[in-house]
Symmetry: C2
Subunit: 80 residues, 2 copies
């Protein structure tokens, strides 16, 4: 089994609704030291041994991320 | 400015609806090498210089994660 972690974030300049909501909520709770919150997705995927990163990239482009507004980073985290 | 990254994931044994949906969708698209998909949150937060990790942990417990079903990991990623 091979494991990959994928970090999906909004592209620079794209409005991030959940991040903006959390930012305001933290301010309302009194956390005035917070200047920015961005919320993306953290995906952990297990695939068959020998699956190349290219294949995982294809899954991101087709399903796991929205290439119009999101960018992503893939990390191979292990072979188990 | 200090930066932290927070990885929020469902606790072991807790059903992960978005992960299960992605898993089935990938199977339908023909990605038979996929055996598991778990989808959590990837949070990037910027706070004032000198903010201790403890304070970020408090924000997670109060707002950013649901301690009943989620666990999280905090990483300090920089001071800028």
């Amino acid at each position: 089994m091979a494991r990959f972690e994928i970090y999906v974030t909004y592209k620079k300049g794209i409005f991030d609704p959940p991040g903006a909501t959390a930012e305001r909520a933290l301010a309302n709770l009194g956390y005035e030291e917070v200047s920015s919150v961005r919320i993306g997705k953290f995906i952990q995927i297990e695939v068959a041994d020998g699956t190349p990163e290219e294949r995982v990239r294809e899954m991101c482009d087709r399903l796991l991320a929205n290439p119009v507004i999101e960018q992503y980073r893939i990390e191979r985290t292990g072979e188990a």
